[in-house]
Symmetry: C2
Subunit: 216 residues, 2 copies
DNA sequence: ACCGACCAACCGACCGTTCGGTCGGAAGAA
DNA sequence: TTCTTCCGACCGAACGGTCGGTTGGTCGGT
């Protein structure tokens, strides 16, 4: 397990510590394992996990590869850390009280809205989660968690169909997959600071529940 | 350049030629470059492009790594071949006459339906296309073609909003992205033979244009 | 004296790719 | 028919290079 404690969460000048050559400001940088997970998640998304070397990661963190190993136990541990953050964010939504009380449709709408918010705020981590191939044990664990999450959504969709709140012309599982697919596709184009988050949330909710066709 | 001519497009007993140990039936197998592209696309999707070794590919084709090189010029050429097939399929839809004539909404509906069909029939190739990271020149070329495709969709969405056929509450570019995102998300769960294609096409069209909410 | 941050040099494994050579059928000459 | 020549399919072995990870050590603060 990674044991380093938090000392400095980042670097104020670039947002990512020492991504360009630092002039060796002593030997005190102090990267927490957590901030390195953030760096790693970004690089994983740019290059792809397999194409990312430990040297790429350490360079992005501004230290040498061997120094990097002083802070983290290995490549897969970084992936695990990032995936855990994504999974925790997603399941956190399900455990919020508006996701557990109220009519099925209201719960579903709430989950969609919150899921968009989590996707946006935890973008690099969720992106990583949604692009997994399942090659390692860590990846398969995350894939399984995703599957459980999707099942929860499917169950709520089914309830909402039973109450007649949403159209029951589709199979619940298929409707849930289209729903999740739409929300998750945000990671392919959403970039923070380009679109106000509340506006994005409203647009996605409208698209998912009302569709594209004119209401007039 | 790949120079082998088509001799046998596949193998009737497994659907993929020689994926299990063949008892050396002479030295006549005769893989066309095309059938090897199909094998490669499947393995790329299972393992991820970067994580796939040439040995993985040759093993899937049932020949040695060095024999494999007798038929193809290299790893990236296989990727290129697969991506070209996906891109051609997608742009082919746009050039069909129902995609160019009629009201914007009718054209959009047609494109969505046909795009689902292309996704389904060319699943491995389109999957590859939609998961690119842009590390190599080939990948960047494909990404650029995708961008052009999305722009075409955006233009039609904008037209349909101008005519009032679809809701203009969303920005055209954002509506187009949600639309494409929904359709493209099929690659994450659609598997042939599980769902009749016409039914899938109808479901996706309905979801995209009518949304989930009840029509009653 | 000790400790945490840091790094150059290194390791075995595996990568994509090349190459020399074998095998068996097709084709032409006898 | 038999002999000879040729060719495409095929493979084992090895190449240069890069990978994830380790080692042995320096340096500055306390």
């Amino acid at each position: 397990m990674v044991s380093a404690q938090v000392r400095r969460g980042g670097n104020e000048q670039t947002g990512r510590p020492g991504s360009s050559r630092r002039p060796r400001e002593g030997h005190v940088a102090g990267y927490s394992a957590r901030s390195l997970v953030e760096v790693a998640a970004e690089v994983f998304n740019e290059r792809g996990y397999d194409a990312t070397s430990m040297e790429d990661l350490s360079a992005a963190a501004g230290i040498s590869k061997s120094s990097f190993y002083h802070h983290v136990s290995g490549k897969e541990a970084l992936l695990r850390g990032a995936l855990e953050r994504a999974v925790d964010g997603l399941f956190g939504v399900l455990s919020e009280s508006p996701a557990q009380r109220g009519s099925p449709l209201a719960r579903l709408r709430y989950i969609v809205r919150r899921q968009v918010e989590v996707l946006a705020t935890e973008l690099p981590f969720v992106t990583l989660l949604l692009r997994l191939r399942g090659n390692t044990e860590t990846e398969r664990w995350a894939l399984e968690r995703r599957r459980v999450f999707d099942q929860e959504i499917t169950a709520i969709v089914r309830e909402a169909m039973d109450t007649g709140e949403i159209d029951d012309g589709l199979e619940p599982a298929r409707a849930a997959r289209l729903l999740s697919g739409t929300v998750n596709s945000l990671i392919d184009w959403y970039r923070p600071d380009r679109v106000p988050l509340p506006e994005l949330v409203a647009d996605v909710e409208r698209f998912v529940f009302e569709g594209l066709r004119s209401t007039r």
